[in-house]
């Protein structure tokens, strides 16, 4: 009941005209970067477009935007208030609440990655299918990880400023490869795409770290919010 109520709450909040507009802009940006990278040269264009425009900039911003909309610009506690005031438990509510934006971000990550690979490689490239498949699951996992992390971070600050702090930390700190990059999704996503790894973790390690740290953010935010 509580999980479903959380899903319904987020779904209703995401039924706004700004959502398709925001997703459309991000999509256009990612594809535009892919076209530019392709124009620069086919060699490595796919990796540059994915780790730069698509997953480096567009996906974090989309996830931030979706979670912000679902929270109606406030903190996680305030976002859930219309239900928690009637005696619903915040913990299962949070789980359900994160689901609709996560699905949207996963969809965005998946579709964007497929089209970026298609644009940068072209139909004739023999590695198209393999690259597309790999990029697809990375897009799905990255979308989920970012939304989950932003949802947890929304528990910080009266207006959920934790989201903005996470985004602000992810860009510079996640760009490195040291232990400072470990808590943030960006470095692990880059590693999964074949870029430099964080703390020399394997791809499996990067996947585990990406999912683990994101859900750790969510768990921390949920505990912070109490029941």
């Amino acid at each position: 009941m509580n999980v479903k109520a959380g899903i319904d709450l987020a779904r209703e909040r995401l039924r706004q005209r700004t959502i398709p507009i925001g997703l459309g802009l991000a999509f256009t940006f990612a594809l535009g970067v892919a076209l530019l990278e392709r124009a620069q040269g086919a060699e490595g264009a796919s990796d540059r477009a994915l780790s730069g425009g698509a997953f480096g900039i567009a996906l974090p911003l989309v996830a931030y935007f979706l979670v912000g909309r679902a929270c109606a610009g406030s903190s996680l506690r305030e976002a859930l208030l219309p239900l928690t005031r009637h005696g619903l438990d915040r913990r299962p509510l949070t789980l359900g609440f994160a689901l609709p934006p996560a699905l949207l971000a996963m969809g965005f990550g998946g579709v964007t990655s497929l089209l970026v690979v298609l644009i940068t490689r072209g139909f004739s490239d023999p590695r198209l299918l393999a690259d597309a498949t790999t990029s697809l699951w990375i897009g799905l996992v990255s979308g989920l990880a970012y939304v989950v992390a932003f949802t947890g971070a929304s528990a910080v600050g009266r207006r959920g400023q934790g989201r903005a702090w996470l985004l602000a930390a992810d860009f510079p700190l996640g760009a490195g490869s040291s232990f400072l990059a470990f808590p943030w999704p960006k470095g692990h996503v880059r590693s999964l795409l074949g870029g430099s790894s964080v703390m020399e973790l394997s791809q499996l390690g990067a996947l585990m770290a990406l999912v683990g740290t994101s859900f750790a953010f969510l768990a921390w935010g949920t505990l912070r919010n109490q029941r």
Binding site: A5, D8, L9, E12, R13, R15, A72, R77, E78, L81, P82, L83, T84, R85, H86, G87, L88, D89, R90, Q226, R227
Partner: protein
């Protein structure tokens, strides 16, 4: 429901130290932010930054079961998202597990005109009105924590009537306002927030909403005997013999209390009552009496609070 606040602080509310039993309370203060935070911590919207708030021994911010028994109206309200107000109220009632119908709830509160309006199109006052209608319809709530309940679109008579019903069935109703006039209308034991501190000293809280302007004209066969009986009443009634034979003016704390006392004493002393009529004093007299009483209560509370601080 028993509400205990021990050194509870949040924002401008620096310290709340009260122990409230079921009944009616009105918190009067000029500090709007402190009142807003008082309602927020009491209803479990936010935990206090320090100290604690317990409702029947459990913290509302941590226990969903406790929040289920709380009906609140916050300073800034957010309704459940839905296409229309009706949909939003229906979802809120479903979350509460209530059997009421949304349309009936809105109609009872005279908010039918909002039924088909989009939730996003509502202004803050309309949003608070719907939230108040939802709160007042919570028939299983044992705590009502309401911030400025008389500043919504819902008629004051309806709000006061519903509060009366809830307090009669044993609920604790705490209202918070910055308006002395509203405080006197809301009635109940008064509390005061001064310098961010809420305290109450036992036995120092007279009833608000019991102004001396309630006058009743009585026609009886023995005005003098009834007058003597009424003057000995514990309710502090005052009487004045009228110009006509058998007529008597009675000044009492509230209409229902005064009339009840008149009838009870007339029966006890076997005095015939021919007519009882509420007399409405001039508006100016009423306003002056109400403001004066509320101001006196406020000043008395300041003395108590400052005494407590020292």
């Amino acid at each position: 429901m028993r509400a205990q606040l021990r050194a509870a602080a949040l924002g401008q509310l620096r310290s709340a130290d009260v122990d409230l039993m079921p009944g009616r309370y009105v918190v009067l203060a000029s500090e709007g932010e402190a009142l807003r935070n008082l309602v927020a911590v009491l209803a479990g919207r936010e935990p206090p930054r320090s100290g604690h708030v317990l409702l029947d021994g459990t913290a509302p911010a941590r226990h969903p079961e406790t929040r289920k028994k709380v009906a609140a109206l916050f300073a800034d309200e957010v309704l459940l998202p839905a296409k229309t107000v009706l949909g939003s109220v229906s979802r809120a009632l479903a979350a509460r597990g209530a059997a009421n119908t949304a349309s009936q709830l809105l109609a009872n509160a005279e908010l039918s005109q909002l039924t088909d309006i989009a939730v996003t199109a509502l202004g803050p006052r309309e949003t608070r009105s719907v939230a108040l209608a939802l709160a007042l319809a919570h028939d299983t709530a044992t705590l009502f924590a309401l911030h400025e309940p008389l500043t919504t679109l819902i008629p004051a008579a309806f709000v006061l009537g519903r509060l009366d019903e809830h307090t009669t069935r044993g609920a604790l109703a705490l209202t918070a306002t910055t308006s002395p006039a509203d405080a006197s209308l809301l009635g109940g034991q008064w509390l005061c927030v001064e310098f961010g501190r809420l305290r109450v000293m036992p036995g120092t809280t007279p009833r608000l909403g019991a102004g001396p302007w309630q006058q009743v004209l009585v026609e009886t066969n023995d005005a003098r005997a009834l007058s003597q009986a009424l003057q000995a009443s514990a309710h502090g009634l005052t009487t004045e013999l009228g110009a006509a034979k058998g007529s008597l003016k009675v000044l009492g704390p509230a209409l229902d209390i005064t009339v009840h006392e008149v009838i009870t004493l007339a029966r006890q002393h076997q005095i015939e009552l021919h007519r009882i009529e509420a007399s409405v004093p001039p508006v100016e007299a009423l306003m002056a009496a109400r403001a004066g009483f509320a101001r006196a209560a406020y000043e008395a509370a300041r003395v108590v609070t400052q005494g407590g601080v020292r």
